[in-house]
C-alpha cells in the first residue's frame, strides 16, 4: 500500500507523462484485464518450457525417477483393477452358496502341511452320498474328481488337460452352460457311459477350432479310452493367465472306472441362500466327523471344508502385498526423483543467477522469482507424471493382453499420478526457488 501511495502522490507529479509521441500507442483500446499475476505466471511457464527445451538430455534424466514412480502405480492399479473384475465375475458365478469337502485344502503353503494332509483319509462317494442323505440344509450335492491327462482326437493330441469326473448336479452347482450339444443324461451317468462334455480349448486344440456343434458327436481319446463328445461348454476365458476352458468332463461313474488309482474326490454342496451357508456347513461337518469317528472337540477334522472365499482371501492378500510393494517402489522412486529434480533446479538457479539479477533489476519481486522456479519444477515433474501415466497404462495394456483380463483405465489414478508428481515438484522446487528469490540483485547481475 505504501508503494501505491508513492506512485500516485509523488512520483507521478509529472505533467504529460503518458503522452510521449513515440513511446506511447496513439490510443488505448479496451481489452480484457486479467490480474497481473496471470501474466507473470504465464511468463514463468514460458521460461520453464524454454529452459527445459534448452536442456533436453538433462530434462530427460531428471524425469526418470518420477516417470518410474508414477508408471509403477498406474500399471499396478490398472492391472489389479482388471484382476479384481475377473475375480469378482469368476467367483460370483458360484457365489457364497457353495462349499466343498475335500481331503486337502486348495491352498497348501508348506511341504509339512502337504504331507500331513496326504495322510488323511480320502473323501469317498459314500461320504458324499451320506451328506446328501443326512444333511437336510444341503440343497444340492455333487461330486467332482480330478485328473490330468493327454487327450487325443485323430492324429492330434493335447497334453495336461484337466479330466473331471462329475455328477450331473455339478452342472447346476457350477452354473455351467453347455453351448452346443447337451449334458449327459441320468441314464448315461448311471451306466457309466463313455460320454464327455468338453471345454472350448479342447475344441481349439484338437478340432482346429471347428464350430462347436460340428464337434458334437466326434470322439476324443483319454488314456486309451474313447469318449463321445455330447456337449461343448461356453467359453470362460483366462484368469491370472490360466485358461478355464481346457477340460474334458465325464460322468463320475465312468471316471471311477477309467482312473481307478485316483479316488479322493471333492464333494460340492450348495445351499439355496447365503444365509443358510454356516448352518449347512455345521451340519455337513458334523456328519463327516461322525463318519470319521472324530468325537472329541479338540480333534482335527481329518478333512477340509471350505468355500470359494479361500481363493478370494488368497487373492486379496496377494494383491495387498502387491500394493504395498508398489507403493514402496513408487515412494522410493518419487523421493529419488524429487531429489534429482531439486539438484537440477539448484544447478539451474546457479547457472541462471545473472538472469535472475536482470529480472530483479527490471522489477521482478521475490515472489515472481520464487514462482518462476517453482513452476519450472512443477512443469518438469508434471511432464514426468504424464509420461508415467502413459507408460503405466501401456504396461498394463501389454500385461492385460498377455494374461487375458479386462483393462480398466481409470481417470482417477491418472489424475492422482499427475497430482502426486506435481506435489513432488513443489516439494523439491521449493528450496531452489527460495534460494533464487533471495538472491541480491546486484550480486546476481555480477555473476558470470
Amino acid at each position: 500500500m505504501e508503494t501505491e501511495l508513492l506512485t500516485e502522490t509523488a512520483l507521478e507529479r509529472r505533467a504529460p507523462r503518458r503522452t510521449g509521441p513515440r513511446l506511447e500507442p496513439p490510443r488505448r483500446r479496451r481489452r480484457l484485464r486479467l490480474p497481473p499475476a496471470f501474466y507473470t505466471t504465464w511468463e514463468s511457464l514460458r521460461i520453464a518450457l524454454s529452459s527445459l527445451r534448452a536442456n533436453k538430455l538433462r530434462t530427460a534424466l531428471t524425469l526418470v525417477g518420477v516417470v518410474v514412480g508414477v508408471a509403477a502405480v498406474i500399471a499396478v492399479v490398472t492391472i489389479i483393477k482388471g484382476l479384481d473384475q475377473t475375480v469378482a465375475s469368476t467367483f460370483s458365478s458360484q457365489g457364497s452358496t457353495v462349499f466343498t469337502i475335500s481331503k486337502r485344502p486348495s491352498v497348501i503353503t508348506s511341504r509339512e502341511d502337504f504331507i500331513r494332509f496326504n495322510r488323511r483319509k480320502d473323501v469317498t462317494q459314500d461320504d458324499a452320498e451320506s451328506i446328501a442323505r443326512l444333511c437336510n440344509l444341503c440343497w444340492r450335492t455333487g461330486i467332482a474328481a480330478n485328473a490330468q491327462a493327454t487327450v487325443k482326437a485323430g492324429d492330434r493330441s493335447s497334453e495336461g488337460v484337466r479330466i473331471r469326473g462329475l455328477t450331473l448336479s455339478m452342472f447346476a452347482i457350477e452354473d455351467a452352460v453347455v453351448e452346443a450339444g447337451r449334458q449327459w443324461t441320468d441314464v448315461e451317468e448311471a451306466a457309466g457311459r463313455d460320454v464327455a462334455v468338453i471345454g472350448p480349448d479342447v475344441v481349439d486344440n484338437l478340432f482346429d477350432g471347428a464350430p462347436f456343434d460340428r464337434v458334437v458327436g466326434r470322439q476324443v481319446r483319454v488314456e486309451g479310452r474313447s469318449y463321445e463328445v455330447v456337449g461343448v461348454t461356453e467359453r470362460l476365458g483366462k484368469i491370472f493367465g490360466f485358461s478355464r476352458d481346457n477340460f474334458v468332463e465325464i460322468p463320475y461313474p465312468t471316471f471311477k472306472k477309467a482312473f481307478t488309482a485316483r479316488t479322493s474326490l471333492i464333494a460340492f454342496i450348495q445351499v439355496p441362500e447365503e444365509a443358510q451357508l454356516t448352518a449347512a456347513e455345521d451340519q455337513a461337518r458334523a456328519i463327516m466327523r461322525n463318519r470319521r469317528g472324530k468325537t472329541f472337540r479338540e480333534e482335527e477334522d481329518g478333512f477340509t471344508l471350505e468355500t470359494q472365499d479361500v481363493f478370494i482371501d488368497l487373492y486379496k492378500s496377494a494383491t495387498a502385498n502387491i500394493y504395498v510393494v508398489t507403493i514402496g517402489v513408487a515412494a522410493i522412486s518419487l523421493v529419488v526423483g524429487g531429489i534429482v529434480v531439486m539438484n537440477i533446479m539448484l544447478v539451474s538457479v546457479t547457472e541462471r543467477t545473472r538472469e535472475i539479477g536482470i529480472r530483479k533489476a527490471v522489477g521482478a519481486s521475490r515472489r515472481d522469482i520464487l514462482l518462476q522456479f517453482l513452476i519450472e519444477a512443477v512443469v518438469i515433474t508434471s511432464i514426468g507424471g504424464l509420461l508415467g501415466v502413459g507408460f503405466g497404462f501401456a504396461l498394463a495394456f501389454v500385461l492385460a493382453k498377455a494374461m487375458g483380463f479386462p483393462l480398466l483405465f481409470s481417470a482417477g489414478s491418472a489424475i492422482l499420478g499427475v497430482s502426486v508428481s506435481s506435489a513432488v515438484g513443489i516439494a523439491s522446487g521449493l528450496w531452489p526457488a527460495w534460494k533464487a528469490s533471495k538472491l541480491d540483485p546486484i550480486e546476481a547481475l555480477r555473476a558470470e
Binding site: 509529472r14 484485464r33 530483479k360 522489477g363 519481486s365 515472481d368 546486484i442
Partner: protein, 251 residues
Amino acid sequence: MESPATIEPRALEHGDLLAHDAVPAALISMRDIWKTYEMGEEPLHALRGVSFDVQRGEYLAIIGPSGSGKSTLMNLIGCLDTPSQGRYWINGKLVSEMDDDELAHIRNKEIGFVFQTFNLLARATALHNVELPLIYAGISSADRHERAKNALSSVELSDRMMHRPNELSGGQRQRVAIARALVNHPSLLLADEPTGALDSHTSIEIMNLFERLHAEGNTIIVVTHEPDIASRAHRVIAIRDGQIEKDEKIR
C-alpha cells in the same frame, strides 16, 4: 511512517546531515553514503561519504574518471545495491526501510535503468527483453507487444526485434537496453554511459530522446565520459575517488 508532506523543501549543502526525524522532500536524497568492498587485507572504499539531492525534473550528469565510483553510485540510486553506511531517501522514503515488494515496484515502475554492461537476457529476443519490465508490471501481452515495439522503434530498432543479443552489434544492444529502460515510462531514468557504444549520430538521437523525456517532466541522471553529453544536462556532478569533487548547475 515518516510523511514527506509535512516537510518544507529546502536546499541542502553537500555533507549537510539531516536530523534523524527530518525527511528530505527531494526525489533523491543521499547522506554520507559509503560503499566499501572487503577485498583481502585492505577494505576498498568505492564511495566515501557522498551526499547530494536531486529534485524532481532535474537533468543531471555524473562525470569522473574510470573507477571513481560512478556505477556504484548509480546502482545505489537504482535501489539495486545497499550502501555500507549512510542514508538514502527516494521520494522521502528511506530505502533501507522498504520491503522487497516496494523495492521491486520502484525498480519496475519508477526507475528505468540503462546498465553500462546492458544486462540483456541472452536467450531472449530484443522484443522480449524490452517487454520484460511490462511482464512484471502485469500488463497483458497484446499491450506489451505494442509498447515494446514502440519503444524499440524510438531507438530505431524496429528491424531487429526478433534478434537475440548475440545477433546484435554492441550499439544495437545498448539501444535495446535503452528501450527496455524507457518502456515502462519511468519517472526516473538512470543511464550509465548510455552512448558508450554508439556513433555520434545515434548518440545525438538518444540524447534528443532523453531531452524530450526531460521536457515531459521526468528526472534524468546520466553517467558519461563525454563532455558533449554532459553539457546537455542542467547540472553536473564530478566524482573522484568515491567523493563528490564538484557539483554545479550549468543552465
